[in-house]
């Protein structure tokens, strides 16, 4: 049983804020295959295309038949714990600051023996366990030995909380509370145990439905935030930047134009101003604040979530300028991820298909319900993944894009969604 995490005490402002020392992040190029899968929540190992042998650690040549044809395949992760140890000493600062630390050696049913970070609920060896891959604070994949049947509070395990960005007891900024999506995100965060949810609203004189319901929640505080206005972003960062643990940037402008369907650049500029420059303004103000608090106790700053679009991968001509702004935002989010990584802050990018809102009114179903999107965000935070493609449309686009981006481009040019 994991002891349920208690609400952390208020921070003593006199004490120095602990700074981040990342766990070892060096990996060989082949080993990054595990990270690639873990970034999307899957546990994959190399499997020999010729003899079927599963390989670990990752390598270039099959250890059974010498074939170079090693393909990444999803693993169930079932295995037998052969031994465990509790580290009381480490030469690495990250672990030294977090001792004692539990490790295990697991013989996977699939063949290899793997070293894992061991969840506290796993019993003494020999014990059946389930191995999964997670990203650690360095953003690299590590394997974790989970109990076969975890308890209700297993997410509160000290080790696991280091690997994830669970909103429980954390303070979150949601940049736009006026949309259905924003309100769904706020409700999901409150349900997930977030301590404080600051909800941004631009142009407060415009009354929008639902905002009153959200602001009635005791965890919620409305804050003025206009991402088109650098001063507004700076002022908010000055007020709450030192307290925010998770930033969820869901503010977006979405119009349904290509190039020829509207003259001029006014709409395209408005889209870019929020979707791209808004992210840039926000990241410049809140990025350094998050980085400074990434090792600040049990409710450290931990994650940054960007609401992108599956159209960021390949332009959807009927929403052509919106697609372009999301592609720009995606590129900038990669830059943000690289800059946040040295502090151990995870940047999570969402690539949804059409959301069931007013700007996708003319899109045929299936469309993503705002509540589904919101729970996908909470799940991503809890699972510690980096990239999520919520909904059937996004998954199908992704599959087609991975199969052949050029074919997808052609299909989209012919209006095929």
């Amino acid at each position: 049983m994991t002891m349920p995490m208690m609400h952390p005490k208020r921070k003593n402002p006199v004490l120095r804020t602990q700074q981040m020392n990342l766990p070892p992040g060096a990996r060989g190029r082949v080993a990054l295959g595990i990270t690639t899968a873990a970034a999307e929540g899957r546990f994959e190992l190399q499997t020999c295309a010729d003899c079927g042998a599963v390989q670990y650690p990752p390598r270039e040549t099959c250890h059974k038949c010498l074939s170079p044809r090693l393909n990444w395949r999803e693993q169930g992760g079932e295995g037998l714990l052969l031994g465990s140890t509790t580290l009381h000493h480490s030469n690495d600062l990250f672990f030294r600051e977090r001792l004692p630390w539990q490790l295990g050696l697991v013989h996977l049913d699939a063949g290899p023996t793997v070293m894992v970070h061991l969840h506290g609920e796993v019993g003494a060896a020999p014990a059946r366990v389930r191995v999964g891959a997670r990203l650690d604070r360095a953003g690299q994949a590590v394997l974790i030995g989970f109990p076969n049947e975890g308890s209700a509070h297993m997410a509160d395990d000290k080790m696991l909380r280091e690997m994830t960005s669970d909103p429980k007891f954390r303070k979150v900024l949601v940049t736009d509370g006026k949309t259905e999506v924003g309100q769904a995100i706020v409700r999901a965060l409150v349900k997930a145990g977030a301590d404080i949810v600051w909800v941004g609203h631009a142009e407060p004189w415009k009354k929008m439905g639902g905002l009153d319901d959200i602001s009635a929640l005791p965890q919620v505080t409305l804050v003025p935030l206009d991402l088109t206005n650098g001063r507004s972003v700076t002022e908010l960062a000055g007020a709450i930047g030192g307290k925010v643990d998770i930033v969820i940037n869901n503010a977006e402008v979405h119009r349904n134009f290509g190039i020829a369907s509207r003259r001029g650049t006014d709409v395209a500029k408005a889209e870019m101003d929020i979707n791209y420059f808004g992210l840039l303004r926000l990241a410049q103000e809140f990025g350094p604040a998050l980085k400074g608090r990434s090792a600040d106790g049990a409710t450290n700053a931990t994650a940054w979530v960007n609401l992108l679009s599956i159209y960021a991968l390949s332009n959807f001509p009927p929403h052509g300028t919106f697609s372009a702004s999301k592609a720009a935002a995606h590129s900038l989010a990669q830059c943000l991820r690289a800059e946040m990584r040295p502090a151990g802050i995870r940047v999570i990018n969402l690539f949804p298909g059409p959301i069931d809102d007013e700007w996708n009114q003319q899109m045929p179903p299936p469309k993503l319900a705002p509540a589904t999107l919101a729970s996908a965000i909470v799940k991503a935070l809890r699972d510690g993944v980096e990239d999520i493609y919520p909904g059937d449309v996004a998954e199908e686009w992704l599959e087609r894009w991975r199969d052949n981006p050029k074919v997808l481009e052609r299909e989209l040019a012919h209006g095929g969604g």
Binding site: G25, L82, G83
Partner: protein, 390 residues
């Protein structure tokens, strides 16, 4: 049926040299190699220019290898080898040097293992030890070999009923051997109570299950017996030698080492049985590995290691003299020199220069090596039986 291998007859192993260990050094590995070669020259009377073979083992020499060392030391050998097998490099350097001498590729081979140890070098070595370590063990707590051998020890204890006290006997007896070794880093006696009360490092591994990284060097010369006699050098002869890499890779966790694969070959080469061996120098990176060597080299059956150490004393004057220098557990681990420690100590035992550590009537000594935890176990195993010349 494997082809009958050439015997090692006619090869002399001589001039054991130890460059005293220090916990930390500001010198590079070259400094220790230089001291070792200088000591070899002075103790043997063989001129530096007469050393025409060099076999080197070192972790901290990078970016140099044995190649750079020749220029650094002003050597011009006609045979050169760099053996990267760490704890197994003593056995492996000896095997290679012996064949070079037998074939006439070299007349006098200096085998040298040396490493320095800076304040932060152990941590840095751990992180860059191997591709597999970088990818699959170092990110997990960075405990280095301690956590790997914790798994192996825990699994062994569970499988064969070994107790911490059993490993403690090995550590305690070796410490009493070390007290007679002026080169040993540890100078104070160790009791079983102290062993049991030590702080946990990566349980069941506690403090006195671990070696202390330090700086130092071990070295010896290999030449023909004829040459050794001309020079008037006391020496030992090679009765048999084996090596094996990546044995039993299908075992999900290490319970036996490559010695088990080749031990019949080893004793057959020497024409002796395990019972004929007078003393044993195991590779003692952790006590459980010493215990496995007792089993895998045929002194007892698999799983009988705990009972074996309960019924024997491992001191120099005990019923089963083992690691008579104190071993790495009590003498210290000077990097790759740890793989040479058993060799130089055995040469001292067989050439009557072991002082108060002398094992009575010592005629046959066995030296085992074990090296390179690239992932979840050491891959390199080897063993040699050395004897007094006929």
């Amino acid at each position: 049926m494997a082809r009958q291998r050439l015997s090692y007859a006619g090869v002399a192993v001589a001039v054991p040299v130890t460059v005293p260990y220090v916990r930390y050094s500001t010198h590079s590995a070259h400094w220790f190699i230089g001291h070792a070669i200088d000591a070899l020259v002075k103790a043997s009377g063989v001129g530096k220019d007469q050393i025409d073979g060099l076999c080197l083992s070192s972790f901290s020499l990078a970016p140099d290898t044995a190649v750079g060392v020749t220029q650094h030391m002003g050597l011009s050998p006609r045979w050169l080898d760099h053996v990267p097998t760490g704890g197994a490099s003593g056995v492996m350097c000896l095997r290679r040097a012996a064949r070079a001498v037998q074939s006439g590729d070299a007349d006098v081979v200096a085998c040298v293992a040396a490493d320095t140890n800076h304040i932060d070098s152990f941590r840095q070595t751990l992180g860059s030890f191997s591709n597999f370590a970088r990818d699959a063990t170092y990110p997990y707590g960075s405990g280095g070999p301690n956590s790997i051998f914790a798994f192996i020890t825990a699994n062994y204890m569970r499988s064969f009923g070994a107790k911490r006290e059993d490993f403690g006997r090995i550590a305690v007896d070796q410490r009493s051997n070390a007290l007679k070794n002026p080169n040993a880093m540890f100078k104070k006696p160790l009791t079983l109570d102290e062993y049991m009360a030590a702080r946990p490092i990566s349980d069941p591994i506690h403090l006195f299950d671990c070696v202390m990284p330090c700086a130092g060097a071990e070295a010896f010369l290999v030449m023909s017996q004829e040459r050794a006699r001309e020079l008037g050098l006391p020496h030992a002869v090679i009765r048999g030698a084996i090596e094996r890499h990546n044995a039993y890779s299908e075992d999900p966790v290490m319970v036996r080492g490559g010695w088990r694969v080749d031990r019949d070959d080893l004793y057959a080469q020497a024409g002796v049985r395990s019972a004929d061996i007078d003393f044993v120098q195991t590779y003692d990176d952790y006590p459980v590995i010493a215990m496995m060597q007792f089993e895998d080299l045929g002194f007892c059956e698999k799983g009988e290691g705990p009972a074996f150490v309960r019924s024997h004393s491992l001191t120099c004057d005990g019923s089963f003299p083992s690691n008579t220098s104190g071993g790495q557990l009590s003498a210290g681990q000077a990097g790759a020199a740890g793989g040479f420690l058993g060799m130089t100590e055995t040469l001292r035992q067989l050439t009557d220069t072991a002082g108060s550590r002398a094992v009575a009537h010592a005629h046959l000594g066995l030296v085992a090596g074990f090296g390179m935890v690239t992932y979840d176990r050491c891959l390199c195993t080897g063993a040699v039986i050395l004897g007094r010349p006929a």
